[in-house]
Symmetry: C2
DNA sequence: CAATGCAATGTAATGGATTACATGAAATCG
DNA sequence: CGATTTCATGTAATCCATTACATTGCATTG
């Protein structure tokens, strides 16, 4: 009964059947789409198994049958129902990449790396923007528990809880999580930040301010440590008044500089935990009549696309963004193929890119 | 039990637990996760129907039963299999937003609008980056045919082919497509571009160059038309040598200026079809010793986040990005709820935002 | 008190594809 | 030539949740 009903609604071979207005079967001979293996099987006069096989593993079906089925499938525009397929096979070939903020250009290139590797291995990538909200992260993570996706690459320092047995199909990129069970890829933030500050030191700077990122993020802690160690190496006494914190936004960079200036701090260089804060810093400096780099040198971190186009262009630490993405996806695929592979923490290196926002320190400003 | 497990996995509080190695069923008494309604039903001593009802429509289950089932579900960490559910109900509450390029900050805000409305209506949004590739667009669109997503918001000027009957569950945002069956939301590009050029005219500019976007995109054609019409209004004869084309990238903006300058064209203002090309243009101008806005005024289009932070900050046309997203998602939801709603082309207005990159024309440079 | 209605729950069909197992025909072997 | 593989295909079980329809028990009503 309800079968018949459904078929007529969906397959609707019949005459007018007149769902909507006219549209008689004459002037709209538009073949109704066939939707199920069953129907394809009936039309091709083979069994559903053969249809399925012709589509999934063509080599085990005889040449003639295969061609015939493909012809029918094509002619009728049949697309297998992925839900049914995935339900049965328990895999989706879909992975979700969680990023805190699509507006942050840093992630774009990472995503591209992820997608390259994913496509090579027959996976599709869907992006979920979390806005660093635990709830949103969790919502996307639940897609894995609910079997709508095979795995997750998360770019925050948290690992969402996924109620499944065994290894979580999660890889962490750009950030890192302490959990030794979770594979991560990230750069050596201590070394990179150190290199940035070392460079400022070689330019003669000694009063080097620092704008940290959120301390909840381990990589920010590392960058700060890199800064500290570099000062130690240079035998520059740490001046905690020169270290401020921001939230990675352009505005935070501006505010940090406003704060330092209003406190009357003197510094000839600023190292920022990311490029956007560096952009904000540059802007605040110049709106206070301080020239970059003549009066104050500025160094960022990430090397986002716009870093090249600020004026002056930004000296920064270039993260291997594409490699981070590729590596993360590679590890996730390994993990999906074999839940036994041991988790790894993979550390890439990041290099200093010298551009126009840094210059040797000059005697004294003012 | 499993809670404890999870905590130990995530927070990694516990002792060794020794993840690998042994793992005999004795020292790993880890309760296997329950995965199906059936199991939950058995444990709760009710039928599968009751479990399903308790989860889907709690109000039709008696208070006591409901609480009991919820308790069991929670205790065992059961997540219903979304594939099975979606297969049965034939809806996923998932929509895919296709964007040409995540690196383009213009889309970020649009996405946010989409997500706001989506969440209000219980939909999740997944993003697909297409890199303007037809193949990629098609791949994501196939998810709808394969029933993995309910609908699509596309931000390009193409509508992917989806082999289904009736109305395509597709809405077009930011761009627009000719197909009258597809709803679109976009701004009045002719008027907006006109306003930008009108403004330059009121500043005294008469030699106004134009950097167009790809002509395959209808909105770019419109922006160009807006430019033309504004010149007509101002009785400025069109000088086709001043109109160039770019591909929306920063580099394209640079190249366009290089080209104009190398041709010896003289102009005191440039209107660019998007902000990134405007950023490139500013950079190329200043690297040729031309000051913005003293020598040349620059106007962009979009008002991306960085437009405020260039130096000088960029005068541009602010698209109502959030509204574009919200409206698109609203229309898509309407369409999903009722395939009969007539398609609409919704046109929003975009306003000029005057910042530092424009100034009155001065006598003559050099 | 029988009749009727309603609330709560159970049974089983259903969605669409995959695939283990079964079958039949053709090919290979001793 | 009968026995054994091999190949191609078919039949039916399976994945897991939803829900139409059936059933049961109890309250309401005339």
């Amino acid at each position: 009964m309800w079968e018949a009903k459904l078929v007529s609604a969906v397959g609707s071979k019949g005459k007018g059947q007149g769902a909507k207005g006219k549209r008689s079967s004459k002037d709209a001979p538009q073949q109704n789409r066939v939707r199920t293996v069953k129907e394809i099987a009936a039309i091709a006069k083979v069994s559903v198994a053969t249809v399925s096989r012709a589509l999934q593993r063509p080599e085990i079906v005889s040449e003639a049958t295969r061609q015939h089925i493909h012809e029918v499938v094509k002619r009728l525009g049949y697309t297998p129902n992925a839900l049914a397929r995935n339900l049965r096979t328990a895999r989706t070939r879909l992975i979700v990449a969680l990023l805190p903020d699509i507006a942050n250009p840093f992630f774009s290139e990472v995503i591209r790396g992820i997608e390259q590797v994913a496509h090579e291995s027959g996976y599709s990538v869907l992006l979920g923007e979390t806005q660093s909200s635990l709830v949103r992260e969790q919502a996307y993570a639940d897609m894995v528990a609910a079997r709508q996706a095979d795995g997750i690459i998360t770019m925050s320092h948290r690992v969402p809880a996924i109620p499944i047995n065994g290894r979580l199909p999660v890889v962490n990129a750009c950030e890192y999580v302490k959990d030794p069970q979770i594979s991560s890829v990230y750069v050596d933030n201590v070394a990179a930040a150190g290199a940035a500050v070392d460079y400022l030191v070689t330019l003669g700077h000694r009063d080097i301010a620092f704008i940290a990122g959120p301390s909840s993020s381990p990589i920010c802690v590392d960058r700060e440590q890199g800064y500290r160690l570099a000062l130690q190496r240079a035998k520059i006494p740490a001046n905690s008044a020169l270290a401020t914190v921001g939230d990675f936004s352009i505005e935070a960079g501006e505010r940090a500089i406003e704060l330092l200036l209003s406190q009357g701090q003197s510094f000839s260089a600023v190292f920022c935990s990311n490029d956007e804060m560096a952009i904000g810093a540059m802007r605040a400096l110049s709106s206070h009549g301080l020239r970059v780099p003549e009066d104050v040198s500025v160094v960022g971190f990430d090397d986002i696309r716009f870093a090249r186009y600020t004026s002056p262009s930004l000296t920064t630490i270039a993260q291997p963004k594409n490699a981070l993405g590729r590596e993360a996806m590679t590890m996730l695929i390994e993990l999906l193929n074999d839940p036994e592979v041991p988790p790894r923490k993979r550390v890439l290196s990041a290099d200093l890119v010298v551009r126009g926002s840094t210059a040797p320190r000059v005697s004294r400003r003012g």
